[in-house]
């Protein structure tokens, strides 16, 4: 427990910063126009200010109440997002099958334990499924497997 709801306070500050930066960028890079004839910059500028206001509104009550410590996972997001990342990197250069295998291996690590047999089984099933569904059924045009160098 915290004496104040720091999660909401930090969150509100993040919103205020995001909103103001967004507004400032829109106002300086795009034509604002007039209320009657709005340019591309008007609507985004208004939105950014609105976000900052709602961010501030989130902070005010948080100052007057106790808050819980947020539950943040570190390794799970890294492995799950990493699985997407390696897939994006490998799909075109190495082909579908190597990309799917790497994705499965990296994703399985999010369990925080290594079970080689299970990993191999899931990879095999997913390789077959992805090939059948996307290549055979939908005719997706990607290399199946290739040497990138």
């Amino acid at each position: 427990m915290y004496s104040k709801d720091y999660t909401d306070i930090v969150g509100g500050l993040v919103l205020i910063c995001l909103g103001l930066v967004f507004s400032a960028y829109a106002a300086t890079h795009y034509d604002i126009g007039t209320i009657r004839r709005m340019g591309p910059g008007m609507f985004p500028t208004i939105l950014g200010v609105a976000l900052a206001i709602f961010g501030a509104a989130q902070i005010v009550p948080a100052l007057r109440r106790a808050g819980n410590k947020p539950d943040i996972r570190v390794w799970t997001p890294i492995f799950v997002l990493g699985a997407c990342g390696v897939f994006a990197l490998m799909l075109r250069s190495c082909g579908l099958i190597p990309a799917v295998i790497t994705l499965t291996v990296v994703a399985s690590l999010a369990e925080l334990e290594i079970r080689p047999l299970r990993m191999a089984a899931i990879s095999a099933i997913l390789c077959l499924a992805s090939w059948l569904i996307f290549v055979v059924a939908f005719g997706l045009n990607v290399p199946i497997a290739r040497w990138p160098f």
């Binding site: 969150g11 709005m38 609105a50 399985s108």
Partner: protein, 505 residues
Amino acid sequence: MTMGFLDNITLGLSIALSYHNLLYCFLGVLLGMVIGVIPGIGVLASISMLFPITFYLDPTTALIMLAGIWYGSSYGGSTAAILLNIPGTPSNAVTALDGYPMARAGRGGVALFMTTIASFVGGSIGILVMTMFTPVIAPYALRFGSAEYFSLMVFGLVAASTISGGSVAKGLAMVVAGLMLGTIGADMYTGVPRFSFGFFELTESVSLVALAMGMFGISEVIATVRRIKPGDIDVDSVGLRAMLPTRDDWRRSWLPTLRGSGIGSFFGTLPATGPAVAAFMAYAVEKRSSSDPERFGKGAVEGIMAPEAANNSADQTAFIPTLSLGIPGSPTMALMLGALLVHGITPGPALLTESSDLFWGLVMSFWVGNLMLLILNIPLIGLWVRLLMLPYTWLYPAIIMFICIGTYTVNNSIFDIWLVLVFGFLGYVMRIFDWPTAPLLLGFVLGPLMENHFRRAMLLSRGDFATFVESPIAATSIILTVVALAWGLWSSQRNRKRRAAALQR
């Protein structure tokens, strides 16, 4: 409406019963069932996962399939709620209150059978309401101008983000964040690429599929891994023989089912509420009007019939504002709207006259789909139960793979996979800060439409804001927005007090 009502029905049936559409309707409801049964995969995540497939289909078929996933998952969601006390979808959470005690008492089979019936009745009544009301609303909506649309959208967004009972400031902040994401891409009047930061891919706009998949699919995986354990289920209690309800069950059930359907139909049409709120309201009404409220929460059959009828009828009536006004009331409906927009169809009052085959085909496919679900659900209960025991360890790598390949296939774009990664991270950060994701998606889909109407309204009124109060419809929407805001503030205050009181005890 030049055609008679019967002609419309015949037209709809001829489309819904075509071999092709039957097949995709079946696929949709089957997938919906499966997804609804398995805890840890939400409807939104699964619809966005299957979204890319619809690009290969014609719009009517695509919508029939997506809609099938949507109402199919409500059927399936009750299975997990009753047997495991884990609602497959949020709208089934109420069903677990009395369904799980029933299963514990060895009446799981009866509960599953009865909820299937309730779902079917509720769904059918919802379809009936939709068939009757949409053609009435649409011609009226044809006269709406930009000021009216803008005010209606403001009402929809404010209501959807505040009434749910969470923090009002957070809900509104996320709507605005969604609107901001919606401004990325070419400005519709001048063609200036906004916020593209030199990425060629962003000069178009952010891909809806990538956003939905990242925010709902990937972030859900991150939050669920290592949290769900497959439960132990007494397989005998759900055999075919154990499913037969007693005469007492029937007697207690029919009135709550009808009441639940009525409540669901009403709340389904409202922009804020949707099936989850409808189910909750139906449960509350039954408990309050019961002569014996003590039974609720201990396995009362009324307690599962009313909410299941309500959420299924709300599933259907939610299409009324989406199709007749082009204003989606929930993120799922926003995705449906997105599917139509991708195919070049703008939902709105003109849809009924210009694409009447799409509208009536879709409505009739709902009947067909509900019937299929009734048939699928009961004999295959054993299979659904087995699916429930599938461990998440095996599932989530498959989910991540389908999300990545699925996103790629939409535009053959590697960039979109990176966007999934970004939005997955963002979705997780939003979970940590307890920011709701649904308003963001609604804002993102409605953003460009809203900006367009806002700018056009200002152009027409020569910059006079009075245009939003002069038209009765616009003025009513603005008043309703204020009411929704006040209600939201009041209910979130009340919820917070209750939670504080519960903490002290």
